[in-house]
Symmetry: C2
């Protein structure tokens, strides 16, 4: 009721003011009026079903209004670089969870990184009280995550800049043949980067590949998982799927129901990709600075793409939307930002026993697992990120890469013409695919049967350990940072990791030496790891799990269809 009134009032003012003033001023005045109304009359009710739910569309709008309300002067320029849930303390979340169903009053706060007149502010906002709890100016090095709008503008800018168009024409090309990418600079001093070489690919169209046969799938009982907003239960698993504009999909409060102990057991408090670091290994002046932090510089969450039905996720998938704050603070909608589906066909366990005379035993169980999938495209690479939950209680994390190679134009057409180190492979005539790595840093806050966990590194005698920790951070300003607030720095504190609430950052690296088959779009390349329960259960937890039933396609009917 109040809301409707407000809208009408707003529209009224808009109509009144629309006469005789410039559009820019008009909007500013309108904003001023609207905000005053908000502050005075509008009582916002935060609606969320779980304390870790991502900020809703309405909450993002509220955050924007609160920030703009503080910096109302029309000369201010604002840009929102991060708007996300400021998690309640773990103790509070756990208390909330254990007291279900509950009416427990739980804080709801947003963390915001915004630039006002070029100054970086880190704000903590109470969404219930609609009040700024703190507003700190970032004085250190670095620049916050680029907004999508900034990236889009940066791409479009040179295409309309006459000196650039002319420089392209001089090289015998038309500006419509050029694609620009927004590169972060790191903390180098050089203000401008030269254009190296430009190559033009007149691509031979390859023939159509082999035909892939059609198929049908069906779940006659429907999916095996239950969704309550962002909370999901499936098989013996329960967890919460969140979303963050910087980190992308977050998995929280993952717990397993132990069928023997008749109780739910906690495993993972929080897991997400905190950073994807992609350093290129060309030492030339035009390339050396290309070391991208996909989360910290470009925003892993805001780079998530809308998933295509039956293509990115199978036909039995359920899709979830996401919202993030755009540069202007308004909510941006990502339809089908991630999906959840059941995956069939693997073997769960099997055994053939031939050791008992005249009593052959053969037992097989097939597996249904649950996959949470999202796809993040930062620049040239598409990263398909799968969290796979298994009935045997392991969590498998698989990242698959596809997309376009980062190419350097060279004069060479054949390998035998190359005399100097090119820091890459000739993937096509005049095209070097530059060597690079993909380091995925997984933030894994384990709570195995509680918070008090220990990290034990097992070095096997004949095999060196594979653990390593790489620098990364969660809310530090990554772009142009000088490394003064990283895990490296935190690690030097050398704090106790026995029976503490510890967090692991697991680094998975893919060293990519490109080759011709990766050009122009590379076929999928996957890497992953599995978190398997180790002496967590007394025995194989799926020993008495039955295979899913296979249903026959109604062939007599299918002819009619």
């Amino acid at each position: 009721m109040l809301k409707n009134y407000l809208r009408e009032a707003g529209e009224f003012h808009f109509a009144e003011l629309a006469r005789g003033i410039s559009p820019l001023t008009m909007v500013s005045i309108m904003r001023l009026l609207l905000l005053s109304i908000f502050t005075l009359f509008f009582s916002f009710q935060s609606v969320f079903s779980h304390p870790l739910d991502p900020l809703t569309e309405e909450e993002i709008t509220l955050v924007r209004n609160i920030v703009l309300n503080k910096y109302t002067n029309t000369s201010h320029t604002h840009s929102f670089h991060y708007v996300g849930l400021d998690d309640p303390d773990k103790a509070i979340v756990l208390k909330w969870e254990s007291s279900q169903p509950n009416t427990m009053d739980i804080p709801r706060q947003a963390f915001v990184i915004a630039r006002v007149d070029g100054v970086i502010h880190e704000l903590l906002i109470d969404l219930k009280l609609q009040h700024i709890l703190s507003d700190n100016v970032h004085t250190g090095n670095g620049f916050p995550t680029l907004t999508v709008a900034e990236q889009t503008q940066a791409i479009a800018l040179p295409l309309k800049y006459t000196p650039f168009i002319e420089s392209i024409n001089k090289r015998g090309l038309n500006i419509s043949q050029v694609v620009c990418c927004p590169f972060t600079l790191g903390w180098n001093q050089c203000p401008l980067r030269p254009i190296l070489n430009i190559g033009l690919h007149i691509r031979k169209k390859p023939p159509f590949g082999p035909k892939q046969t059609s198929y049908g799938t069906f779940q006659p009982e429907g999916p095996g998982f239950k969704v309550d907003d962002h909370s999901l239960s499936w098989a013996n698993w329960k967890f919460h799927i969140g979303y963050d504009v910087r980190a992308g999909v977050t998995i929280s409060l993952a717990s397993i129901y132990d069928l023997e102990k008749h109780k739910s057991r906690r495993v993972l408090y929080r897991g997400y990709i905190s950073e994807l670091f992609v350093p290129y290994q060309d030492l030339s002046e035009e390339w050396y600075y290309k070391t991208f932090f996909h989360a910290g510089e470009y925003g892993f969450g805001q780079s998530m793409v809308s998933l295509q039905e039956s293509q990115d996720c199978p036909p039995n998938a359920k899709f979830f939307d996401a919202y993030y704050a755009g540069r202007d603070g308004r909510p941006e909608h990502v339809p089908k930002a991630f999906c959840v589906f059941e995956h069939y066909g693997n073997i769960l366990w099997r055994h053939t026993e031939t050791g008992i005379p005249d009593e052959p035993i053969q037992e097989v169980r097939t597996e249904v697992s649950l996959i949470v999938r999202s796809i993040v495209t930062v620049g040239n690479y598409d990263n398909i990120i799968d969290w796979e939950f298994k009935p045997s209680d392991s969590i498998k994390l698989v990242v698959s890469l596809s997309g376009m190679l980062e190419i350097k134009a060279v004069e060479y057409k054949h390998n035998n013409e190359i005399k100097e180190e090119q820091h890459g492979s000739l993937v096509s005539a005049n095209s070097i695919g530059v060597y690079h790595d993909h380091y995925f840093i997984f933030h894994l806050d384990f709570d195995i049967d509680g918070e008090e966990n220990s990290f034990v590194k097992t070095d096997l005698k004949t095999e060196s350990s594979r653990w390593k920790i790489l620098r990364s951070g969660l809310v530090d300003s990554v772009d142009q940072s000088r490394g003064d607030d990283t895990i490296d720095v935190w690690t030097q504190k050398n704090r106790d990791i026995m029976n503490k609430d510890i967090v692991m950052w697991y680094v998975m690296g893919i060293h990519h030496v490109p080759w011709q088959e990766d050009f122009p779009i590379m076929p999928l390349l996957s890497a992953g790891f599995e978190l398997r329960p180790t002496n967590f259960f007394e025995r194989n937890p799926v020993l008495k799990t039955l295979s899913p039933k296979h249903v026959k396609w109604p062939t007599t009917c299918s002819k009619k269809n």
Copy 2:
């Protein structure tokens, strides 16, 4: 016609002789008579559609008759340890293949390892001429692959041996509670192995695991592959699937049709698992000798189990039978020894292009791959072996392990009671799962665009190489061998590997530190590698491959069913 006559003649003689003589002599005389008839009258026609087809049921019988015919004396004892196709030379096979359709006369020979009166013979038999080409006595160390009958007998023997039954009773157990396994001894001198400890598991029955939801799958156009006996064509792939009693499934003559070059291109002449070496790492007297060669000692092919429909292979699988020679030389039938099926659901490639203002591009292609699956159970482990062929022209080899752990009974119930090194992990009360490795040795005879291939080891600067070669052999006598005919020995010849017809033995190791969840049957653990084309094609070969079409389940009809 001749065959029918023969059977009647045989039956006639049998009836005549059946009176008044002992069954054993009777059979011997009958065999003598039958063999004479074979030699005199029977003209066998070898029927095979491809020179690499495994020996047929009839050919195995013929081999048996030829060998028994040579050693007819009734006092002879015979056992057949290996009967398999002796491959024609590569040059002949390639000539045969390139001259399709052809009536080329190609040799058909069997290689046989048989023991006659305890002496090991290696025979080469011409199946067309029904003639023994060579008969060499093996004078070196080692014992040929155990026959299945020997293994079965060894298992049953102690269960009927009074002193053993009594020794079990003394330990407070009943013989029906004991399972015996046939262990190979290596070339150690100890004639007998003591029994260490005996533990009895009164297993708490675990509760039924979480329900897995049912599903339906369907290929409305049928499968995308075509089978001609053992030859298979699918998508751009063509290859031959063979079977060998020692090696199991063999993949031969794999070639890719290059859509741009409009020709078929050879990739792999022959690939199979030449050995699976499983050394246990307990140094105690009762355990140190447990180092099993699954192919050389137990026969990987004869240990293949019959696959279960919709469990071991999905409902859209096609199954293939296999035959091997039993100890008596007669053909043993393995129904559904391996299967071939199409696998859906992975992403082939994708890209989202945001670099072109106002022209967002998003392209996704899903993948159908082809899997050849067999399952080999040697003793306690089930090895699921997948050869996966991809439309992007890579071959992925994945081995997944399940089955029972090899257990050592100990007095300990809890880890804190253990004071000495146990060479394993306490996986349940009184049960140590002993540390061990699984080394899969893949024989890969690459013929990339022809026989002249080179092996290049690329050592990246910051990463050490992962290549290693382990000792293995193809037809050497493995059991109790002293290592005098191994790849180690062959490698020392230091022959040229530049532009030669080289073979690679790739070793994949899984070091298994067992834990409670592996007990009593371990959930699936997979490892694998992918053979990806590298600068074999000019560009991504699946750039214009379309996604398979997904067909909707006829829901209106399915209700009636």
